[in-house]
Each structure stands twice: as structure tokens, then as C-alpha cells.
Symmetry: C2
């Protein structure tokens, strides 16, 4: 397993060695060979320019070729085998079993997008045929479909080294839509990034695609990232990470002479509302599920439940007992990086230092700093305290959750109205609870991208109906998802052809409908060919 | 026809009279009664707050009620009859016949959105049923659809006092999506705005909708507009107007603590490419059509063709002769307002003052300043001059177009690559021309929202396949259209329900599919009910 350490630029490698860094094994603190080199501004420019050149070709390749690229990447990733898992394990501290599952999810995701591209109806083709005899004016023939926007810059996340990184959901959906991709590799897993980046290059080369269709940039901090967003060749940006970094990229994109969209998935507290009937029926099961959910992946999921709202009462006490008992059996575990662990401790400290907040349970062993561990813990406060202290609604990215006790359902509803935009909101409820909770559900629907009933928000299914998005500050654009097949709509735009003869139209809009896609023809959905005028 | 002159705020009228203005009849310079009063910041705040309150209700009303609102507005507009046309004529100088046509288009547009809402499939419903036995993990039941984003602020345009104003495309699509609307009336036709605004209030009252579902704000300049964009209750903005104003609103929206989208349709030169075969076949017909298109509505259309690219040669000379001859027969005509006429003269002056630009034809009579007239004119330059003078690619909003002569097809292609984002790009071509112009078409598709073949860009059909949008600076968001049924997608966002029992789901996602809408069920499109688990 040879790692080169330079950026991968348009089929070659960078040569700048002015500044280097190494990955750190969070479980041991060891600095891992080899050195990785930060791309120079010239190298970044070369990657973006090559992406713009490659776009002229890649935007025109058939759906079949795009699908083969996606399938090819999945095959190449699987072909690396154990060495990829081992490098990712060393760089992230994530258990091998989890990484194996995440690899399967990532390859499944690439293949699902290939399927969507092959099926083809996602382009939302619409045909309104000419009405030459219409009064007072004839109608021309109008045909419209979605086409790719241009080169997409992707910022990989720290917490999903496969599924939200180099060949993750953003890259898969951009390739599916017909856009070249330039990835800014996350500094915490550069070796994993290089290995996966090379799979993309191999899959692209096997199809004789122009090498600029993919580049991978190593770099430090925000400077090179902001420069990528500002580059004139960049047409859109996908990002998963902190609010501070996401907002900085959004602001840079909005201030461009030609603004571009930034799809930043940033921060979410994923509030959970436990209604009285549900707590009466199954306090222990809810406690068990919640403990598993907020500590899954050492609490480092964007959908980790960080706020748990309850109504004080005997069933809530039973639930809390069960929750504390469960949490006290849980081990501390290695977090992704020193930076993430420090931020976790800081934000948890801010919350637990607030007036009226008490820690009610901790995991069975102290966190060992040398192993970069985080210790599970639960704190509690009242709704009254929560409502007057906005700092409690801070994301502590790690194995921590805050339970809020309201006096009654009215106070619980006031808490719901106080939360900001979220990726998810969860409700545990009986059918009777739900009948009385219509107003609560309506409030949550306005504040979250996904409403989870009697489940837990961690575990984001990759499928057509998924929505992984939400009102700001969860994301910068509530209208789109970053997980699931609808994610490719972020990187597409409509174009309309008026009066273009059939033979010059893209296949999706030709009379014969050669791919048999679903189209809206004269206002009616159909897969049938259209009769020529 | 009583006009009150105050803003219409949540079912009542404003009472601030601190600052007033009158509409001006551009054809006579007369100041038209009554006085109109600029809304105070407090009144604007009242309108926005009422819209936020109304949203809680309006977002939940059935598709049928939304459709009835849209139909009701159309009926109320028609019911005003002649007085509406006369007031609009006095305020805009547009001929009565044109205004009658625009009214029909506006009412047709409202009814078309009502139809889309009644049919219901626009919500892009997706259902992935539970797979309880899936390994390694079960899949929960996931159902997703589009829901409204919240109150929409609409800035009416000057040039379409009905179709892109108070009850125009932005308002119709926002109501269709389920969003309350607050319109900032255009200062140049406040009486028309009030008359139409009252039709919306009557239609809303007839359905017992909360009065905050619609407000109309009178105001001067950018201050109140920017304040509306910054208001915390505002969820999205629709705008049609100048680049300067559109960009100011976009910047204000992006700088909010919680950014919101601005759909600004701003400026476009709508380049026309005349290929040699087409000019050989029908020089006179193309000249005739072009002259009609660039002077339609005194050149005050966002899709007016402002640049005409040709290849020098004998057929091009024949075309130019025909064009000049035609233009020299055309009268001067009253423009929309003193500000628009001044801007037209200024921008035309900038272009014609550039080195290498010659005016080659003018209309038959000088423009009379007292009647706020604009005179049709055509100028000419070479591709070489055009390519070195970016100021020639300036929008002169009025009856003017610039013909550019290229030496050959290669220079024509260089011109195509030099133009910025456009609403439209037009090509006149024979089938043989098109066969050789694949690269040109690809370039234009990347720069424009609509490609017109052997037609003219003015005349924007309202239908499912229309795309009235384009890359910046034509609009601020290339992913959406402001005309046609897809316009309502601007004001909607997805939400996903995980595990919500059938009886609590919105009808669009219930197993029974009571409205029979098209849905994506387990990856397959269907209007069938879904079997319960």
C-alpha cells in the first residue's frame, strides 16, 4: 500500500513540498507515515482549471457512462480490501467493524446513484408540444430537462471517512448529475483520502474520461478551502462539518462576483421529545435506545440526539433511572481527533457549567486523554432553565446528551418553539399521544428536515425518501438533502429548448424517448414516445 | 374605483402618512391622484409578523383551498374590468390591448397553478416502506414530500404590471406552494398594485383565510425593501428588476444570521446567433422577426434580444438592409417611466460611444421627451471590437440592439464564449447549420436558461416545460425558473417522516393515496395505493 502524499491533480500528482503534515492515530497519538503535502495555490488552480476543461466533455457523456463510473469506483474501493480499512482505522480510531459497514454503505450509495442515472427519470423531463393553431398566438415546441451545473468542490467530513468523504454522498451525487469533482481532503485521514481518490482516478481512466474529472487537494485550514470556493471554475460546493467552517464557505460563495450555492451540513442538536404515554408504556426500552443512539460512534454523528425533552412525572423518573443505569455501564472510547475531543470537552463544559444543569450519569471509566477518549455522560435541567439559557442549545459533538424536564405539555411545546433549525426531531409517542400532539408535530416539521417517530435519529438510510437536511443552522439550504437519491438535484439546473429539431435534442427529450424515462408531456406523466408534430 | 393609497396590511390599511408620492403618467407627465403613502417600518413589521402568523394556518390548508384561492384571485381581477386596464394604462403607458393580453396571461397563470395544486403530484412524494427483516439492520418506513418554506416577499417589476407584479408569477407560485405573500409594490404603478392587492384580500376573505396571508407594502427605494428581506419572518424572496437592486437584496439575504434564498431575475442580453444557411434562406423574414422582437413593448422585456451575432457576407448584408429598412419605418413610443427612459438613453449611449460602434438605423421619428418616448435603433460593430470592449455587453433596457459582424464561424464561437449568463440564447439555423453548430449549442446551453431555435426570445410561454432563469447575472439562482409551473419549487422544501403512523401522515403520503398523485414508491413511480405493512 504505497501512499504518495501529494495532491492528486488531473491524473498526475502535485509536487509542492513547502508544507507537510502527518495523520495522527488518535488511539495512540502516533504520527503516521508518510508525510502529506499541502497543495500550493498554483496546484489548486490547476485542479480547478482541469475540472472546468473536463466538464465540457463529462457533461455530455451518456447516462450509461456516468453509471459505469459510479459502479467502477465502488468496485475499485472494494478491490483495495483490508489495507483501506486498516489505514482508515489507524487514522480515525473507528472500529474495523464500523468501517466495514461504512464501506458497504458507501459502495451501496455509489451503486444506487448509478441505478438512478441508468433509470434516467431524475432529469424531470417536460415536453409541451407546439400548438401552431392556438389563438391569439401559436405555442412553440418547448422541452426542458435538468443538466449539470459544473465543477463541484467537496469538503470531506471527519466523522465518515468513506460515506461523507472522498467518494461519499456529495461526490457520488455530483458525478451522477454530470459534474467533475475536486475534493478537499480532510486533514485527519489523508491516507484514506489518497487511497479512495486513486480508486476514482482508476475508474475514470478505465472509461477514458478526461483526468480533470477528479482531483484531490491536501491542505491545511480554511485558506485553501476558501480559495477553492472563490475559484471562478467552481459551480457549487458540498460541505459537511462545523458551523464556523460551513458559514465561512457560504459567506465566501455569496460574496463572489458570480455567487454559487454552498450545501453545508453543519450542526444539529436533534431534539427528542418523550411524550407521557410512551414513557409509561416502555421507559426501559426508550432509555436503552437513547443510550445506544447518543453514544453510537462515540457520539460523533450529525444526527446524535443532544436534547431530550420530557414532562416530569413518575414514568419519566423510571426512564431516567434506566437511562442512568445503562450509561453507567458504558465504556469511554477513542474519539476521531484531538481537535474533536477538545471541542467536545469545551462544549460539554459550557452546557454543564450553566446554572441549573446537573450531570446525572457518567460512563463506567474516566476518559483516558492519551487514547483521545470521550466518556459518555448525561446531564439534566428544567425547561425553565433551558428556556432562559440559549447556550444550553449548543452542539457538543460527542457522547453527551441533555435531558430537560418540563412541568407539563405546554412547557414542552414552549421548548419545541425555542429550538433552531435541525436535521431531525424525534418523538416517542403512543397513538393517543400523537392525537394530542398535532401542534407539536407541526412545530417540529417547521424546524427539522426529518421527523422520527418511536425510533432514533442516528442511522440515516440512503434511499429516495431520505431527507438529510433542515432549516439553518442545520444546513445552509433547506431545499435540498445531502443523503439519498434526491441529493443529485443539488448539482443540476433546468434548461429549456424551444423549437430545436428532434435529432438535435438530448435523448431524454426526443420524441422516441429511447430510454423510456418518465416525462411530463403536455401536463401528463408518461413513458410513451411522443408523436412527431 | 376608489383608491386608498395606504399599504394593505393583514386585512386592514396602514395609517402612516409621513411620506407620500404619486404615480406619473409617462405619456403626459401628469401626476395621478391619489397620494400613496410609504409604509413605516412598524407597518412593514406588522405585515411580516401577520404573514408569519398566517403561515401556521395556511401551510396546513388542503390543496383544494389553495387552488380556490388562486382561482378566486383570477375571478376577482377579471371582475374589476375596464377600470383596472385604464389605471394600468395611465400608470405605465402600455397600450390597452397589450394590458388586456397581459391580464389574460396573469389570470391564466393563476388558474394553471390552481390546476397543478389540484393535481397534486408536484410535491414529489417518495415512499420507502419498512424492511423489518433486512440484514444487517432493518429499514424503517420513510416518506418524504415537499412542504412550503414560509412567508415570501415579492418585489413586483415595472414592465409587467400584472404578470410579474402583485398577483403575478411569484405570488401565484408562492400561494400554490402554501406560503403567505408580502408584496413590495412597484412605485411606478401603485394604483394598479392596490386594485390587484384588494382582489387577493377579497379572495382570501371568501375562504376565511387569515388576513395576514397577503399584505401590500408601498415604499420608496431600497431601504424598506432591504428591511423586508432582513425581517426574521421572511423565508424567501422573489424579485424582477435591475441587477443593482437584485444584487443588493441577494447580499442582504446572504448576510442574515439565518440566510434565505433570493430568486432575482435581473438582466439579460439574450444574444441571437444568425448562422449562414439561415441568413441565405430567409434574410428578410429574420430581419422582420428581429425588428418586431427587439421593439416589442418598446424593448422593455427581460428577454429582448440585445446582441445579434452574424458572420460577414453577402447574405448578412441582405439581412442588414432588410433590418434597417424595417426599423426606419417604426415609430417612437412611450416608455414605462422617466427612470427607465433615462437609463435606456444612458446605456445605449455607453454602447454606441464605444470605439468601432456605428448606429446603422433609427426609427422614423425622433423620441419626444415630453411623452417619455424611446426611439428604436440598431448599431453595428465587429466581433474584434466586441471582444475587446466588455462595456458593449451592457443591457440597454429599451428598443435597441447591437449587431456584431464576425469574420468567420470561429470568431462567432469566440463571441459566444465571451457572453455572460443569460435568460435566453437564440440561434437561427438550417438543419445543416445545426449539424455544424454542436459546439456552439453546447456553449450556449452552459450560458443560458432557454435555447430558442428559429424563433425569438420575447414571448415567454407559461407552461410546465418553460425555463425562465439562467446563470448569473441573469438570475441569482440558476437552479430555478420564475415562469412556468416549476416556479413553485422555489418556495418548497422536503420533509421526511420516519415511522409516522398512516393516520397522522399528510394525505399525499398515506397508504391509500386519496388524491391519486404520482409517487415514487420503493423506487418505482405509481399512482396506486400502498399496501399497509
Amino acid at each position: 500500500m504505497n501512499l504518495d502524499g501529494h495532491s492528486l491533480i488531473a491524473g498526475g500528482t502535485g509536487d509542492s513540498e513547502a508544507s507537510s503534515f502527518r495523520a495522527i492515530n488518535p488511539a495512540t497519538g502516533a504520527r503516521l507515515a508518510p508525510d502529506f503535502f499541502e497543495a500550493s495555490p498554483g496546484e489548486m488552480n490547476r485542479a480547478m482549471t482541469a475540472a472546468a476543461d473536463a466538464f465540457a466533455h463529462y457533461r455530455t457523456v451518456s447516462a450509461r457512462v456516468r453509471a459505469l463510473l459510479l459502479d467502477g469506483i465502488a468496485e475499485e474501493i472494494e478491490a483495495i480490501g483490508e489495507p483501506l480499512l486498516e489505514r482508515a482505522h489507524a487514522e480515525t480510531g473507528l472500529p474495523l467493524a464500523r468501517l466495514k459497514g461504512e464501506r458497504a454503505r458507501t459502495c451501496g450509495q455509489l451503486r444506487l446513484f448509478a441505478e438512478v442515472v441508468r433509470e434516467g427519470s431524475w432529469v424531470d423531463a417536460r415536453i409541451d408540444r407546439a400548438l401552431p393553431d392556438r389563438q391569439p398566438l401559436p405555442r412553440p415546441d418547448l422541452r426542458r430537462m435538468l443538466i449539470p451545473v459544473g465543477p463541484v468542490v467537496v469538503f470531506g467530513s471527519s466523522n465518515f471517512p468513506f460515506a461523507f468523504s472522498v467518494a461519499g454522498g456529495d461526490t457520488a451525487s455530483a458525478f451522477a448529475a454530470g459534474c467533475p469533482v475536486v475534493v478537499k481532503a480532510h486533514r485527519s485521514h489523508p491516507g484514506t483520502a489518497e487511497l479512495v481518490g486513486r480508486t476514482i482516478l482508476r475508474a475514470a481512466a478505465a472509461l477514458a474520461l478526461p483526468p480533470g474529472v477528479f482531483s484531490l487537494i491536501h491542505g491545511g485550514g480554511a485558506t485553501i478551502g476558501v480559495a477553492m470556493v472563490r475559484h471562478p471554475a467552481t459551480a457549487a460546493v458540498g460541505f459537511t462539518g462545523s458551523h464556523t467552517a460551513g458559514r465561512a464557505l457560504f459567506d465566501a460563495a455569496a460574496a463572489r462576483p458570480h455567487p454559487i450555492p454552498v450545501f453545508a451540513e453543519m450542526s444539529s442538536l436533534n431534539p427528542v421529545f418523550l411524550l407521557p404515554g410512551a414513557l409509561r408504556e416502555r421507559p426501559a426500552a426508550i432509555a436503552e435506545g437513547l443510550a445506544a443512539s447518543f453514544t453510537l460512534g462515540v457520539g460523533q454523528f450529525c444526527t446524535k440526539p443532544g436534547l431530550v425533552f420530557t414532562v416530569a412525572g413518575i414514568d419519566t423518573d423510571a426512564f431516567l433511572d434506566a437511562l442512568c443505569n445503562r450509561v453507567e455501564t458504558l465504556p469511554s472510547a477513542t474519539m476521531l481527533s484531538p481537535g474533536i475531543r477538545d471541542a467536545f470537552e469545551e462544549h460539554r463544559g459550557t452546557i454543564t457549567a450553566a446554572s441549573g444543569v446537573t450531570i446525572i450519569a457518567r460512563g463506567k471509566a474516566e476518559a483516558v486523554a492519551a487514547r483521545m477518549e470521550g466518556q459518555p455522560s448525561v446531564a439534566m435541567t428544567t425547561a425553565a432553565e433551558f428556556l432562559k439559557t440559549p447556550a444550553m442549545a449548543t452542539e457538543a459533538f460527542g457522547p453527551f446528551t441533555l435531558v430537560i424536564r418540563a412541568r407539563d405539555l405546554a412547557e414542552l411545546a414552549a421548548c419545541a418553539r425555542a429550538v433552531e433549525g435541525q436535521l431531525t426531531a424525534t418523538v416517542h409517542a403512543t397513538a393517543e399521544d400523537l392525537r394530542q400532539a398535532a401542534a407539536l408535530l407541526a412545530e417540529l416539521e417547521r424546524r427539522a428536515g426529518r421527523i422520527v417517530i418511536n425510533g432514533f435519529p442516528t442511522g440515516v438510510e440512503v434511499c429516495p425518501a431520505m431527507n438529510h437536511g433542515g432549516p439553518y443552522p442545520a444546513t445552509t439550504d433547506v431545499r435540498f438533502t445531502s443523503v439519498g437519491t434526491a441529493a443529485l438535484l443539488r448539482f443540476a439546473r433546468p434548461v429549456c429548448y424551444q423549437g430545436l429539431p428532434d435529432e438535435f435534442l438530448p435523448p431524454q427529450l426526443q420524441n422516441a424517448n429511447p430510454d423510456g424515462i418518465l416525462r411530463l408531456v403536455d401536463g401528463h406523466h408518461s413513458r410513451e414516445p411522443v408523436r412527431p408534430d
